[in-house]
């Protein structure tokens, strides 16, 4: 018996696949426990009806999904989520790409700038949002103070039309440093010979950017878009701290609404149904972006 076990173990260690599985086993275990199992639970919950004490459990079929399609708050939250994502993601990628191209060369100043731009990434989003909430306050904020000096009296976070753009700007400020660092790494990976050849052919700097740099970086851009998309669809902390979903629900995103349903109203099955819908949306967008980016993944 013991010999059989030893033989099986040796066989596992001698196979390349077996060793690979052993290496990924710890992280797979953690991911299963904290991501996959809760995700499956969430899908199961969305088809049930129960209270948080897990009593009176009933099969609800698609009732939770039908309900959410008639919920005006869900419509508003979906609109706000798309609004946030459509503006935040491109802005973050463009700002990161432009700055990465500007500071890609090795110099003392560029090294300092890289550090400075990366600082917001390592700061807690909650703290960053708290600071910005004070800076952007209409009555006591410094931004408002300077705007008033030049005759602009904006409501800022209290204005339903300005609140979401401001949340987007703060999020871009907080996150672009991460994409910038990834772009910087990708820029280093572009073969120098391509630029030399372009230089010999007399290609202008502008054309080099659009015909060499950006096409060569498309897989990296795709990766950054997928991570930024996922984060944008899940925007919560900054909204929770800066606006609380207001004014008049104009910054209430899907995740904020799900939180509200689950933790304030204790409607776990309904919140789960909303989470499943959001999951499907993120999955669809991520797959689409991944396929588009992969299509440009070429070896040179």
């Amino acid at each position: 018996m013991a010999t059989n076990r030893t033989t099986a173990w040796n066989r596992l260690l001698n196979s390349q696949k077996g060793v690979a599985y052993l290496f990924i086993a710890p992280s797979l275990l953690i991911i299963s426990f904290f991501v996959i199992i809760p995700m499956i639970c969430s899908i199961v919950f969305s088809f049930l009806d129960f209270n948080i004490m897990f009593t009176k459990i009933k099969f609800a079929g698609f009732a939770n999904f039908i309900k959410l399609f008639h919920d005006h708050r869900v419509k508003g939250a979906l609109f706000n989520t798309f609004y946030f994502t459509i503006f935040e993601v491109p802005l973050q990628i463009i700002v990161a790409l432009v700055i990465a191209v500007i500071i890609k060369n090795q110099s003392v100043m560029n090294t300092i700038f890289r550090g400075v731009y990366f600082i917001p990434v390592i700061c807690s989003l909650t703290i960053v949002a708290l600071v910005w909430e004070f800076l952007l306050d209409r009555d006591v904020g410094i931004v408002s103070f300077y705007l008033k000096q030049i005759g602009i009296h904006w409501g800022l976070l209290r204005d339903p039309d300005q609140a979401m753009p401001l949340v987007i700007i703060v999020t871009v400020w907080k996150n672009f440093g991460f994409s910038m660092v990834v772009f910087l790494a990708a820029l280093q990976g572009i073969p120098q010979s391509l630029y030399e050849a372009a230089s010999i052919d007399g290609i202008r700097a502008w054309d080099r950017l659009f015909k060499i740099t950006i096409p060569m970086m498309l897989p990296t851009v795709g990766f950054c878009i997928i991570t930024a998309l996922t984060a944008a669809f899940q925007a919560f902390d900054q909204i929770y701290v800066m606006t609380g979903g207001g004014p008049i629900f104009r910054t209430e995103t899907m995740v904020y609404y799900i939180y509200n349903m689950a933790f304030r109203t204790l409607k776990l099955p309904y919140a789960s149904a909303n989470a499943v819908v959001l999951f499907i949306i993120i999955l669809a967008f991520s797959l689409f972006t991944f396929r588009r980016a992969s299509a440009h993944d070429k070896d040179y």
């Binding site: 009555d139 006591v140 209290r158 207001g246 304030r264 109203t265 204790l266």
Partner: protein
């Protein structure tokens, strides 16, 4: 020598065995949402209890109200959580409907705590269907904080006696620059105070409790809301929405008056504001709602340790602890027999106690969706009106329909 050493060893062994053989103290997990200046006072009282109790140890975890709310939901769902926690009465309804709260009638029936020491509202608040579903923790009224320097500068020498006088003073205290932009607000009006304090004080309840219907679309209610909206949008006595909180604006000397509970005193003292407090002037019916934080004991986790909890409750409401709580936090004591307590004279607690005879409550907060009615529907409608996105009639007619929907889940 060897025999002596052996004796010492045996005695030490016996003493150690005796200590470890003694029945262990029962540990109670306590989650608290008091994170402000009241936190160290509560922690000290818990520590003193742990030092004196022979049977019970309390392990206290402090977190913000939002985190507490979130953790409670998760803990009820997961089946593990605190033995007791504190929270306002607004969650009574939703946890009662789940059958999650322990009936604490025994606290009074066994004579451990005498009901007569509490104001009537403290006894009334946690009762649903004749059952005591939470134990008293503290009680407070919100009062109006006012900046004495701003009052003096405006030549205001007498405090308002009714809502009309209050709003007239607020207008007088509101200052604008040459372009008409407000540089100083007269009275900070938060949405919840408009409905729970001022409108209710005027005798207008947002909900007809007997008929289980929203009253927000009724002409009297709409007229009152319109009056308040005019004060905010036309007279500009208050910011429409205060994203940083009225207390911050008061500290920054941007508002002359606002309503808050006793916990704000410490912050305003630290900020160097020259302030005092006065009772919120009553409306024609003199109705108001007081705050009643409670101790909740979830059925799921407490089990047989309830007697240990009662020991804590008895300790908590005793005079020395109540005096310490009042002196350290500014909250009034929860006992009506401490009105003349010498050690409390001249403290903020004594000022907040001046309203103690008026502590009142009602059962509206017992509705399962009370939070949604106030924090979502009424807030949303009020914001829409103040921001010019809807008329009072349209906004509150729509809110009224939604509130009726929530009232079904009583």
């Amino acid at each position: 020598m060897a025999r002596k050493l052996f004796s010492v060893f045996m005695i030490t062994l016996a003493v150690t065995a005796a200590v470890y053989a003694a029945p262990g103290k029962v540990t109670l997990q306590f989650w608290s949402g008091f994170t402000g200046p009241d936190r160290p006072v509560l922690e000290q009282i818990v520590k003193n209890f742990n030092d004196t109790s022979k049977t019970t140890t309390i392990e206290m975890s402090t977190m913000t109200w939002d985190v507490l709310d979130q953790k409670l939901t998760a803990s009820f769902a997961a089946g593990s959580g605190p033995d007791f926690f504190n929270y306002g009465p607004e969650i009574l309804g939703k946890y009662y409907n789940l059958g999650a709260l322990t009936n604490v009638d025994e606290l009074y029936s066994s004579g451990m705590v005498d009901k007569k020491i509490f104001p009537k509202s403290v006894i009334a608040v946690p009762v649903i269907d004749g059952k005591n579903l939470a134990a008293p923790m503290c009680v407070f009224d919100t009062m109006i904080y006012y900046n004495k320097d701003m009052f003096a500068a405006a030549g205001i020498k007498t405090l308002p006696k009714n809502q009309d006088e209050l709003f007239a003073i607020a207008k007088k205290l509101t200052k604008k620059d040459a372009q008409g932009n407000v540089t100083q607000y007269g009275l900070g009006l938060a949405y919840d105070q408009i409905f729970q304090t001022f409108m209710y004080g005027w005798g207008l309840d947002p909900v007809d409790m007997a008929k289980n219907k929203s009253l927000m679309a009724q002409p009297d209610h709409l007229a009152y809301v319109q009056r308040m909206a005019d004060l905010v949008t036309k007279d500009k006595i208050s910011p429409e929405i205060a994203s940083t909180g009225m207390d911050t604006l008061f500290n920054s000397k941007k508002i002359a008056m606002y309503c808050n509970g006793p916990w704000a005193t410490t912050g305003h003292v630290s900020a160097g504001v020259n302030f005092d407090v006065f009772n919120i002037p009553p409306g024609p019916k003199a109705d108001k709602i007081s705050g009643h934080p409670l101790f909740y004991i979830p059925t799921k986790f407490m089990g047989s340790k309830i007697q240990n909890y009662y020991e804590w409750e008895k300790y908590w409401v005793d005079k020395p602890q109540q005096a310490m709580w009042a002196k350290g936090t500014g909250y009034p004591t929860i006992r009506i027999d401490m009105g003349n307590e010498e050690s409390l004279k001249g403290t903020w607690a004594s000022k907040f106690s001046s309203a103690a005879d008026r502590f009142t409550t009602r059962n509206f907060v017992l509705y399962q969706n009370a939070g949604k009615i106030f924090d979502e529907e009424l807030k949303n409608a009020w914001e829409a009106v103040c921001l010019g996105k809807a008329t009072v009639k349209d906004a509150f007619a729509a809110a009224s329909v939604n509130i009726d929907g929530y009232l079904v889940d009583k």
